[in-house]
């Protein structure tokens, strides 16, 4: 669907993107992650043709992207807003027509959306009369109204209450199921786990991590298991001995919870057969690292970030 090849972008002496390549598969939700100032927004602006790369290629459905493709793109920037003095309907119509929609069609579709999202009676309100969450709803609608094939959402959940955030989440999944490719840039790792099929993590102008979410989590997996059991702790630890290391131990309501790291290429089965005679096992779960931890491990442990980034992130 969307392929980036070796994108380089410089602002003066600052290298904002340094040979970034990635592939966004059709009909999936793709998470674009990275700390502030890493180059995410610059990359998004290159995809949306707001700026051009110094070198490298952006391929849209296999061919170099053109201005005409811009109308097949929906972009919800992180820094987003509306004209405060304009009426909601008029403004949504204006933005839709700038995307090349006909007036009558845009009006019809807008009315549909307004009805679906229980926004009847908003049409003639001025934007300054809306709450932040309400304005965000209008912005989301104007982003997807023209039926884009590629949707780029930068922090789409910020400013929404949980009810409306869920509404947007459902909408993203619905659009994905309809074949729309979604690129999601967010710091909310929970929503990455919930929504994304693939991710790419940018740090210091480079892609440092990419792949499907499941694969990435597996890659960071450290063969750690949580074992719930009833019985003596010392007996448990003794039984574990050669196969695993006890990282952590806690007790709650008569149940012991141990975190065990497998040693010497042992398997879960070997651990189980070792401890089964000693204690009564209630459950065993593999501890796959959460995206949050992966993010921090991939970028967080390094040196402090440079304070001033050239473009806002």
């Amino acid at each position: 669907m969307l392929v980036l090849e070796d994108i380089v972008k410089r602002f003066g002496t600052h290298l904002a993107l340094d040979g970034v390549s990635m592939e966004v598969p059709q009909g999936k939700v793709f998470g674009l992650l990275g700390p502030n100032g890493a180059g995410k927004t610059t990359l998004i602006r290159i995809i949306t043709r707001i700026t051009g790369p110094d070198s490298g290629k952006v391929l849209f459905n296999g061919t170099a992207m053109t201005d005409a493709d811009a109308s097949r793109l929906g972009y919800l920037p992180e820094e987003r807003g509306l004209y405060k003095k304009m009426k909601v309907g008029e403004q949504a119509l204006y933005l839709a027509r700038l995307k090349g929609m006909e007036k009558t069609e845009a009006t019809r579709k807008l009315k549909e959306w307004f009805a679906r999202w229980e926004m009847d009676g908003w049409w003639n309100k001025k934007v300054e009369e809306l709450s932040k969450g309400m304005a965000q709803k209008v912005q989301f609608i104007t982003t997807v109204l023209h039926g884009p094939k590629l949707l780029i959402l930068d922090e789409p959940f910020s400013g929404f209450d949980p009810v409306n955030a869920e509404l947007v989440r459902q909408e993203i999944l619905r659009l994905r199921d309809e074949g729309v490719t979604v690129m999601l840039s967010t710091h909310n790792m929970g929503s990455v786990e919930e929504l994304c099929d693939h991710i790419a993590l940018i740090d210091h102008s480079k892609v440092v991590l990419s792949g499907s979410v499941r694969e990435v989590r597996q890659r960071f997996s450290e063969a750690t298991y949580r074992v719930d059991y009833k019985g003596n702790k010392v007996a448990f630890a003794d039984a574990l001995s050669f196969h695993g290391e006890l990282l952590d131990h806690s007790e709650a309501e008569g149940l012991s919870i141990a975190r065990v790291k497998l040693l010497h290429n042992s398997t879960v089965n070997q651990v189980l057969s070792a401890i089964l005679p000693a204690v009564q096992v209630q459950g065993v779960h593999e501890e796959v690292p959460r995206m949050h931890d992966i993010f921090i491990r991939a970028v967080g442990a390094k040196e402090t970030r440079p304070a001033a980034a050239e473009m806002t992130e």
Binding site: R45, I50, G52, L73, E79, R80, G81, R97, K99
Partner: protein, 445 residues
């Protein structure tokens, strides 16, 4: 409608629909006509009945001044002290010293300044008496005096325009008015462009927009849309002012015609014919008619269509030149307070052009005027004066050079501003310097 058309339409319609636009449109002409009317009215207004005491130390005036309904004269032969005058019911005191026949000077003391018309009436009344006295002293027959009394009028002719009276000063004034209009328009609407750009940046709506349109389209759409707002406002002002002043004039005429025109009726028509026919005046005291004749002369003498066409050209050229720079400033800063340092280089040449324009009224051939009418940053204002005076038409090459340079420069500044604009609108929270802006010019789009 293309994308840029949509942008122009939005910029235009949102501004024209604002209540402030309607208010300014109605208020503008009302303020102009009302302001003039107020000045005229206040000048004519009597400040109530005037009881003027004349200290007639020369003994010339007693009981010789004609009174009106509002102005009454009282006479005292000797000085009245300030405190006595203050306590008296008199509203003003005229002191006529014994030497008045030699020094032609009197003193008027007042409690509240008498209106201009009262002052004029007083001075002309006293003048008449003193003149009469001088005639008597010098044994001159008043009739002879009337015949030899001369009110000289100088009529100017440019030798290159044989047989036509020259009204260069009046024309320069008209040119200055045009230039001043351009100056005001550039400022008023240039700042609106800047505000509009800043609004989009502060609202954060700009990034949504430029994912649909090119930044340059957005900037040009705004500039053109606001220009249309300005033109609409001006057209409405001209229309309303014309209507208002026509109504006002006919009202005033009704008042005057009954008395004044009746007496001077036949004289007016013959004089008017004389003026229009030969462009020469036959003398007499019909001041209003002479002015009317002058207006007709100037009107006939100036190539009105060419001047209006050039006015529109310099008006739009100057606006495009400056508004693109205003747009760049609006894009570069985060808030209005930061605009100051960048505004100065824009306002400086504008101010200069108005100063030079003032000198051009008196000296249209001076080197400063010449250069400033060629340099595009000042030419829209300064060249208008040379155009109105006809000077520019005598040097068509200079006019062509000035126009060509203006077009070339506004294309250049718009391009330059476009580069600053597209980087600036996406830049937040950064203190922008001149050096920084210079760097933006070389960023790849």
């Amino acid at each position: 409608m293309g994308k840029i058309g949509l942008i122009i339409w939005r910029e235009f319609i949102t501004r024209v629909r604002k209540p402030s636009f309607l208010i300014m449109t109605v208020l503008g002409p009302l303020l102009i006509v009302g302001g003039i009317a107020l000045v005229v009215y206040l000048g004519m207004q009597e400040s109530g009945a005037q009881n003027i005491v004349v200290i007639d130390k020369a003994g010339l005036l007693t009981n010789k001044l004609k009174e009106t309904d509002d102005i009454k004269f009282y006479y005292e032969p000797a000085d009245m002290s300030d405190s006595v005058f203050k306590a008296s019911p008199y509203s003003a005191m005229v002191e006529v010293n014994p030497l008045v026949l030699e020094n032609n000077t009197i003193q008027l003391f007042y409690k509240a300044l008498p209106s201009l018309s009262t002052q004029n009436y007083l001075s002309s009344e006293i003048e008449k008496v003193i003149e009469k006295e001088k005639l008597r002293v010098n044994q001159v027959d008043p009739e002879v005096y009337q015949r030899i009394k001369t009110a000289l009028k100088v009529q100017l002719f440019d030798i290159d325009k044989a047989g036509k009276r020259s009204y260069d000063q009046a024309k320069a004034g008209i040119g200055f008015a045009f230039g001043y209009l351009i100056f005001i328009f550039i400022f008023l609407y240039g700042v609106q462009v800047m505000r509009g750009v800043m609004e989009e940046k502060q609202n954060r709506v700009v990034e949504v927009l430029i994912s649909s349109v090119k930044p340059f389209q957005l900037m040009m759409g705004k500039i053109i849309g606001i220009a249309l707002v300005g033109l609409t406002q001006f057209l409405l002002w001209i229309l309303l002012t014309t209507v208002l002043s026509t109504v006002g004039m006919s009202f005033a005429k009704d008042q005057i015609s009954a008395s004044a025109l009746e007496q001077a009726g036949p004289q007016v028509s013959t004089q008017l014919q004389g003026q229009l026919g030969q462009g020469l005046e036959t003398g007499g005291d019909g001041d209003a008619n002479e002015q009317l004749g002058m207006v007709m002369d100037i009107w006939n003498d100036m190539p009105i269509a060419a001047i209006l066409g050039l006015f529109l050209f310099y008006f739009l050229g100057g606006y495009l030149l400056y508004s693109s720079m205003f747009a760049a400033v609006g894009a570069a800063v985060d808030s209005e307070t930061d605009t100051q340092q960048f505004m100065l280089p824009i306002t400086l040449p504008m101010m200069l052009s108005i100063f030079i324009a003032q000198t051009a009224v008196y000296n249209p051939d001076g080197p400063a005027v010449f250069w400033c009418s060629i340099i595009p940053f000042t030419s829209p204002v300064v060249m208008m004066i040379r155009i109105a005076m006809g000077n520019a038409f005598e040097h068509p090459w200079e006019l062509a050079l000035s126009m060509g340079l203006l077009i070339a420069t506004f294309i250049f500044t718009t391009w330059l501003a476009g580069r600053i604009y597209r980087t600036g609108i996406l830049m937040y929270g950064k203190k922008v310097t001149w050096k920084e802006m210079g760097k933006w010019l070389f960023y790849r789009g």
